[in-house]
């Protein structure tokens, strides 16, 4: 097992290197190059010259790349053009929110998606089946900002059940420790703050969760349909096992393997899906930061965030592969 993990970790290195090359190239390819990216089109030639020698942009590319890499390794991606703060600082400040949101969305997607997909497969061809297929499609197809608008209209404006934006009711002043608001609330025993922070996750979480939900439903359905046709399920039935045992031990367990991979993939994708969701919910996370960065052409932030997110994404998928190894003995040994 350990060797499996180590090997996968080693496989990351080339990917991350390639990634850094890509982003390095990206920044170089931007109209005006990195100096302009950092200083903006208004930068005077002198300013650009100053910047170039300051960051050694007058040196051969490979040297520049190594410098870039060196700084990237130390998580130094320069300063945001919008706020003038270090990119990494901004990221760390906003990451907890996004993690909370992503977790909620994923729990929602899994909690609803797997049972729904399973039922759909069990009742293959029934109205429930077609409903779940179509529903999952709506989930993917409906634009987030529109969904957000509808959700807020219903639950925030009309019913007033849930908060429609932000991470915490502004009038509550909660103690901050980890910047994971729900967690903070629990740690500090400020139950109301924790609960409030949680309710703030619901609407954006659902809006964000619809896409993975849709996909999980589809995958679960498909893979259950596959598994029930497997010989070993027939064997299980031939053994006269109780239906519940057959389903639990022989159908679901195996059907979940592909779902696990999807979940990993989706969790990673959520990080970028958050760009739209967070901004329409004024949710102070990484996504909304990227959204602002796009409009402010804040390349330093875009570059830094994209690289870090990509790394996170890769790591998440590594975790999934490992857990997959735990689930499926065949992978483990190979």
């Amino acid at each position: 097992m350990l060797r499996f993990v180590v090997r996968r970790l080693l496989q990351l290195i080339p990917i991350l290197l390639g990634l850094s090359v890509l982003l390095f190239a990206w920044l170089r390819a931007l109209p005006g190059g990195p100096a302009q990216a950092a200083l903006g089109e208004r930068a005077t030639p002198e300013a650009i010259a100053r910047y170039n020698e300051l960051f050694g942009l007058d040196q051969p590319l490979y040297v520049q790349y190594l410098r870039f890499l060196g700084r990237a390794v130390q998580l130094d991606f320069g300063n945001s053009a919008r706020t003038g703060r270090p990119v990494t600082e901004e990221f760390l400040e906003r990451m907890p929110g996004t993690i909370e949101l992503t977790l909620f969305a994923m729990v929602f997607a899994i909690g609803v998606g797997i049972p729904l997909g399973y039922l759909a497969a069990r009742r293959h061809g029934s109205w429930l089946d077609s409903a779940s297929v179509i529903g999952s499609l709506l989930g993917v197809a409906i634009p987030v900002f529109f969904l957000a608008y509808l959700l807020r209209l219903l639950f925030a404006v009309e019913l007033g059940w849930l908060p429609g934006s932000g991470r915490q009711e502004v009038r509550i002043d909660a103690t901050r420790i980890t910047n994971f608001y729900v967690l903070d609330g629990l740690l500090t025993r400020e139950w109301d703050a924790a609960w409030d922070a949680f309710t703030h996750l619901v609407l954006p979480g659902i809006a964000l969760g619809t896409i993975p939900l849709a996909i999980i439903v589809r995958i679960t359905r498909a893979s259950v349909l596959d598994v029930v046709n497997e010989d070993y399920v027939r064997t299980a039935n031939a053994k006269g096992l109780a239906t519940s045992t057959v389903r639990r031990r022989h159908v679901i367990r195996n059907a979940l393997l592909p779902v696990a991979t999807t979940i990993g993939l989706q969790t990673g994708l959520l990080l970028s899906g958050a760009v739209l969701t967070e901004s329409v919910f004024a949710f102070g996370g990484v996504g909304s930061a990227i959204f602002d960065a796009i409009f402010a052409r804040d390349f330093a932030v875009l570059q830094g965030f994209i690289l870090i997110l990509a790394v996170v994404y890769v790591l998440v998928n590594l975790l999934v592969d490992i857990s997959y190894g735990l689930l499926d003995p065949r992978v483990r040994v190979r």
């Binding site: 010989d231 039935n237 031939a238």
Partner: protein, 356 residues
């Protein structure tokens, strides 16, 4: 003399058959397609300790028959007719619960492909014990103990360790042994083995067959052996039913069948198997064509198109004029208008001849 190997006491010829299959028909109805009759009026019986072979090319309906007996055919789109009785209990149309109680306990099945028939994500141990836990009220501990014992009986070395392993860690033979162990866990009255050896190397095949025979013999279990391989039949079965496109076309005791196949199809099958006692250098005679060129039974004999002895009356245009399965001497039944003929000779002699 294989037949003598079976100790008389194990086989209570007195008792009524364990399994009685009567006019079993299985029809597949797919949305839009016209119904397909995979098994058509099949009847046979198996006595305790007896081994019966269902022989035929792939697609002749032998596997479907076995699944029908076990009640493992999907409920939707499949229609099972006729009657299947296990120790007199009607299985056709019995509620799923009832069937589940019987399966694994009173009747068990061993499947063709041992790898795909084992759950890859569950340790062998669990897969064996779960049968015991399901049908016998045992503690986990006792179940494990019995499982170890079972694996040992089916000849898996170091069973304690194997229990913890996963299917992919076992060799093909081991897997099949494990499957057999599961099937026999609760000492079922009826065991159906569907091509249990086809997926295995020849050497292993022999071992597995030997194993099956031993188990059947000393447990008095009734065994139904589904196979296309007459070699297997020769080694194992007391009675043989040859199936063709959903119908039994010839039934006989093993030695009768081998000595004097009547149905040309059976003859073909035998002729296409190299025989040790066959004449040196005598060429093999494969059956012409393939199972694909089959005509509906309704129009005479489905095998006719491929049959060397076929004559015009084998193929009548009149619907419903199916060639019937008729009495063909003691212990024999035959479905053929122009069977193979043999010079008359005393029954005893033939038996001896067959065995030699």
């Amino acid at each position: 003399m294989i037949i003598e190997d079976v100790p008389p006491d194990a086989v209570d010829r007195s008792g009524r058959p364990v399994l009685e299959v009567d006019e079993l028909t299985v029809t597949f109805r797919r949305r839009g397609e016209q119904p397909m009759r995979a098994v058509d009026g099949v009847s046979f019986a198996v006595a305790p300790g007896e081994t019966v072979g269902l022989v035929g090319e792939s697609g002749c309906g032998k596997s479907v028959t076995s699944l029908a007996v076990m009640g493992l055919l999907p409920r939707r789109g499949v229609q099972v007719g006729g009657s299947v009785r296990l120790d007199g209990r009607e299985l056709v149309g019995a509620p799923d619960r009832a069937l589940r109680e019987l399966r694994g306990a009173d009747m068990a099945m061993v499947f063709q492909d041992p790898l795909s028939s084992l759950n890859p994500t569950v340790p062998i141990g669990t897969q064996v014990t779960e049968v015991l836990l399901e049908h016998r009220d045992l503690s986990r501990k006792d179940a494990t103990a019995q499982a170890t014992d079972l694996l040992d009986r089916v000849g898996i070395p170091d069973p304690a360790r194997r229990l913890k392993e996963y299917p992919h860690q076992l060799s093909g033979g081991m897997r099949q042994r494990a499957l057999i162990a599961m099937a026999l866990a609760c000492r079922p009255r009826l065991l159906i083995a569907d091509e249990p050896t086809t997926a295995l190397d020849v050497t292993i095949q022999a071992q597995i067959l030997e194993l099956l025979r031993e188990l059947v013999v000393d447990s008095g279990t009734a065994l139904v052996m589904i196979t296309h391989d007459l070699g297997v039949v020769a080694g194992l079965c007391d009675r043989v039913h040859v199936m063709y496109s959903g119908k039994i076309i010839e039934s006989a005791d093993r030695h009768e069948l081998f000595a004097r196949p009547r149905q040309p199809y059976t003859g073909g099958l035998l002729a296409s198997v190299p025989r040790l006692d066959g004449v040196r250098g005598a060429p093999l005679h494969p059956i012409r064509g393939s199972a694909r060129d089959v005509i509906p039974w309704a129009e005479g004999c489905a095998f006719a198109p491929r049959c060397d002895h076929a004559q015009d009356d084998c193929l009548t245009e009149v619907a419903g004029s199916t060639v019937p399965l008729e009495y063909d001497g003691p212990g024999r039944e035959l479905r053929c208008r122009h069977p193979l003929e043999y010079p008359r000779s005393p029954a005893g002699a033939t038996a001896a001849g067959a065995a030699r």
